[in-house]
């Protein structure tokens, strides 16, 4: 038979179990909104003692442990998905900023500036005499140059922003690594010495691991003592004893134009070796900075280069208002998107724009007065009279004698004379009547080069026609396959398509994260209605235990008063 005192003990154990349950419920309710918190539950068992008559007799209740409701396998899946999501989110953000730089399809985009550039050359071809039309070409070109500069500048800012971001994310990683390491020590200390489970530290460590996996691809395992070790790319970053922080490495990069800047990369403090994250935000930032953005930059460079080189090639062939030829339009030493510039001679002086095609012909003011040279020597117009008397127009030479009336000589082999049009030499082959010393007048037209006049706009026209020529995107044989307009449309739209792909990937990964999150929540999340029910339940059981004690106590009183 059990004693009444023992019965009192049952009551008191019931009371304290209810108290513990109540405090666990209170903790759950308080942390309902704590990120990473998993709900706790009391595991309790009925106590008994051996009894001769009944075998076992109830001895009350005992709290075995407070368990953490958590799906540990799901945590790993979530972490992996977090890495993927983090990487793509970073790429998506960079691409969004890159896209804003393009400002297309808009009136203020590069496409519109290029159209205005080609049009300005046509207008100049229509009005070659007009200095204002020349200035308009320079202005339209400056607008194109500035558009290239602003895009290139934006890209450079984007890249250096990625560097700064990378540095701050590396610091975030290190804080999290330290947090894991501290939690490790707390958990092992708590569980090893005091026994039981360090539930809240475990929640905190799991949360740190989740945040860490968003930043960098990690793998983690827990050993039998409770230490979690974390690796990335096979390198240990949290050991049982300590965390191994990542380092910020600055690598100097020198550009072909001589300028240099530092590029940030990730290192590992233990090995002093560079670390290449494969996933997570760090990988996303590096991917955007080293691949996505530079690819676009290279396309803009190629576009600027094609524009400058081709316009220059045609411009060099033309003649400007001062009769000069062979000048470039764009500075040939600055043909990337960031450096593109008009030649200072052009931008300062509209008259230096080579509008005309040249190739003017003229004739001497008066027919040249000469005598037939002796001994069959040819009459050399350029040596005898004027160095510019060469490149004669075929059939333009008219030779008359000074006789009264004058006799017109016949040109051609077997006739009176033949002309070497390039050198301007006239050989009197078959002119037999009074050959040497005979007075003659020679009239002719020769190519004087230079502008054909203020109204010559053909070189401007040829430059404007570059618009429709295949100048960019060389195929494997080096033959250009695309016009500047098309190649720009292609690079913008394919960037848009790439961005759409990345964005939809982010969307997919995001909803996957939400799905996993909900799954985890359905195990670990605090349901307030459930806790309220528990609250009432534990309150009742506390009240019942108290009633039991008071009943037992009354019985004891009865016994003592006998």
């Amino acid at each position: 038979m059990s004693s009444l005192l023992q019965t009192l003990g049952i009551g008191s154990r019931g009371l304290s179990t209810s108290e513990t349950s109540l405090s666990v419920t209170g903790q759950n309710i308080s942390n309902a909104n704590t990120e990473g918190y998993s709900r706790k539950r009391i595991e309790q068992t009925a106590q008994y003692k051996k009894d001769g008559a009944f075998g076992q007799v109830g001895y009350g209740v005992q709290v075995d442990e407070i368990t953490r409701m958590r799906d540990v396998l799901l945590d790993k899946t979530i972490a992996m998905n977090q890495s993927d999501l983090g990487m793509h989110t970073q790429i998506d953000e960079s691409m969004t900023r890159m896209e804003a730089l393009l400002t297309e399809p808009r009136d203020e985009g590069l496409g519109t500036a290029l159209s205005a550039f080609w049009s300005s050359w046509q207008d100049l071809a229509n009005n070659p005499e007009d200095v204002a039309a020349r200035q308009a070409v320079i202005n339209a070109s400056q607008a194109v140059v500035e558009k290239f500069h602003s895009i290139a500048g934006g890209i450079q800012t984007l890249r250096s922003d990625e560097d700064v971001l990378l540095e701050s994310k590396i610091k975030d990683v290190n804080k999290l690594l330290e947090r894991v390491s501290i939690d490790n020590k707390g958990i092992v200390a708590a569980e090893g010495i005091e026994g039981g489970k360090a539930n809240d530290s475990r929640d905190d460590r799991q949360q740190a691991l989740k945040e860490l996996s968003k930043l960098i691809d990690i793998d983690y395992t827990e050993d039998e003592k409770g230490y979690v070790t974390v690796t990335t790319g096979g390198q240990m970053i949290v050991t049982p004893s300590t965390s191994v922080p990542l380092t910020v490495e600055k690598n100097p990069v020198t550009l072909p134009d001589g300028s240099s800047f530092a590029i940030t990369s990730v290192g590992l403090s233990s090995t002093r070796q560079p670390l290449h994250p494969r996933s997570g935000e760090l990988a996303g930032i590096i991917e955007a900075r080293d691949n996505v953005i530079p690819a676009m930059q290279a396309k803009f460079d190629a576009l600027a280069n094609a524009l400058a080189q081709n316009v220059n090639a045609v411009h060099r062939q033309g003649f400007d208002a001062q009769g000069s030829t062979g000048t470039n339009f764009f500075d040939p030493t600055k043909v990337s998107a960031a450096t593109l510039a008009l030649l200072p001679e052009i931008s300062k002086n509209p008259l230096a724009v080579a509008v005309g095609e040249g190739g003017s012909t003229r004739s001497p003011a008066a027919p040249v007065q000469a005598t037939v040279p002796p001994g069959g020597t040819p009459l050399d117009l350029s040596q005898t009279f004027d160095p510019s008397y060469r490149n004669l127009l075929t059939g333009s030479v008219v030779i008359k004698t000074t006789d009264v009336p004058p006799v017109t000589l016949q040109e051609g082999a077997g006739k009176d004379y033949v002309v070497d049009p390039v050198t301007g030499r006239i050989s009197f082959t078959n002119y037999l009547a009074n050959p040497a010393g005979k007075g003659i007048t020679v009239d002719f037209r020769y190519n004087s080069g230079g502008s054909k006049g203020a109204g010559d706009g053909r070189n401007a026209l040829r430059i404007s026609q570059l618009k429709d020529q295949l100048l960019t995107n060389p195929d494997w044989q080096g033959t250009p396959t695309s016009t500047i307009t098309d190649s720009y449309a292609n690079m913008v739209s394919s960037f848009g398509a790439d961005h759409t792909t990345v964005s939809s990937r982010v969307g997919t990964l995001g909803s996957l994260d939400k799905f996993y999150g909900n799954q985890a929540q359905s195990v670990a999340g605090v349901n307030l209605d459930e806790e309220m029910t528990n609250l009432v339940k534990f309150q009742h059981s506390y009240q019942a235990s108290a009633k039991f004690i008071s009943t037992a106590s009354q019985m004891l009183d009865t016994l003592l008063n006998l």
């Binding site: 804003a100 080609w118 003011a365 203020a454 739209s493």
Partner: protein
């Protein structure tokens, strides 16, 4: 979803749904407010590609249309002045025919000569036709008239009887500082003081020289001052083409040069033909008058040919313009389809998404309210 649903999950789901619905609403709102369907390339990459190409195409077309309207202006001025030229040459021919009639006397021919000189000068004026400050028959030398009448020129020559003495106009010098030889002198304008034409000297009007005869008056002089008027032709190259691109890759020359209209300068250009006719009048020589009519006919043929050339260019330009207009209409319509918001569609979308958003707000408000606590 399995088993337990917590308040946090419900709240998270509701929040996510609200964000999504509001985001969609915002997309439609920004489309409506900007009137543009594509805000950035990733909204519609194919549409962006089309939009960029259409924009470039429309810009080119606009430019071609500008080129054509400029060219048409040029051609209509050119056409009008060639028409006048045609009338002038026909007038010259008619006067020449009239004067070659044997019943005409010297006085009447002198009267016609005065009239003829005016027509000749009118022809020179036509060669100097100007459009927007540009001489249209001067090739690329648009700042220089191809022909001009030089009045009151004077050249001092040595008197060597029996030899052709070329005349020079010392007032002019070309781009290289040389004084040009004279040609195309206007009959009746040549005078030497103390000597008379046809008695003491003969004139080669077209060639620009005089030959002194061996008369006592000539022998008395060792040099003579010759006064004359002549038609000067610029020494510059006027063969340059004025070109307009009227459609992609189609470049048309819109100008005809004075050489096309009046012939290559020399003994047989249109001015020379008219001068020969005037010579007949001046010398009162019906035979030469009749012989010179052929040259005037040739001048007319040349001018008609130039008219045909420029008419053909005008026709091609008109064709280009018609096709440009219709393609521009197509391009603009297409650009509207690709870039612009379909307002009816957008308005429907907007009200639909607004309803969805409001409905989700209402439902959310209902769901997040009740807990067990209200009933305990």
């Amino acid at each position: 979803m399995t088993g337990r649903i917590t308040f946090g999950m419900a709240a998270g789901d509701i929040q996510g749904g609200l964000y999504k619905n509001y985001g969609k609403l915002h997309d439609v709102m920004s489309q409506v407010s900007s009137q543009k369907r594509i805000q950035k390339p990733s909204d519609d990459s194919v549409g962006t590609w089309q939009a960029l190409r259409l924009r470039a195409g429309i810009a080119s077309n606009d430019q071609y249309q500008r080129n054509i309207s400029d060219g048409t202006g040029w051609l209509s001025v050119s056409d009008a002045s060639l028409n006048t030229g045609n009338d002038v040459i026909q007038g010259i021919r008619q006067l020449g025919m009239q004067a070659s009639n044997d019943t005409y006397g010297a006085m009447e021919r002198k009267g016609i000569q005065v009239e003829m000189r005016q027509l000749l000068e009118q022809l020179v004026t036509i060669s100097n036709t100007n459009y927007n400050g540009r001489y249209i028959f001067s090739g690329n030398q648009t700042q220089v008239p191809p022909y001009d009448v030089q009045m009151g020129a004077s050249s001092e020559v040595a008197v060597v009887p029996g030899q052709a003495v070329p005349l020079f106009d010392p007032r002019l010098s070309d781009s290289q500082g040389k004084i040009p030889a004279v040609s195309h002198m206007i009959p009746g304008s040549v005078g030497i003081s103390g000597l008379s034409e046809g008695v003491d000297f003969d004139v080669d009007y077209v060639g620009g020289s005089i030959v002194f005869r061996n008369t006592p008056a000539v022998q008395a002089q060792s040099s003579a001052q010759v006064g004359f008027d002549w038609i000067h032709r610029t020494d510059l190259d006027i063969s340059g083409k004025i070109e307009r691109e009227t459609q992609q890759g189609i470049v048309q020359a819109i100008n005809v040069s004075a050489d096309d209209v009046f012939g290559t300068p020399g003994d047989s250009d249109s001015f020379a033909s008219v001068i020969r006719l005037m010579e007949g009048l001046h010398r009162n020589d019906p035979h030469q008058l009749r012989n010179s009519i052929d040259g005037v006919d040739q001048a007319l043929m040349r001018l008609v040919h130039a008219q045909t050339l420029s008419g053909a260019v005008q026709n091609r330009m008109d064709n280009s313009e018609t096709s440009l207009r219709s393609s521009n209409l197509q391009l603009t319509t297409q650009q509207g389809l690709v870039e612009d918001v379909d307002l009816a569609q957008a308005a429907t979308d907007l009200s639909q998404r607004q309803q969805i958003y409001e409905a989700s707000l209402q439902v959310a408000a209902k769901i997040i309210q009740p807990t067990l606590m209200q009933f305990l």
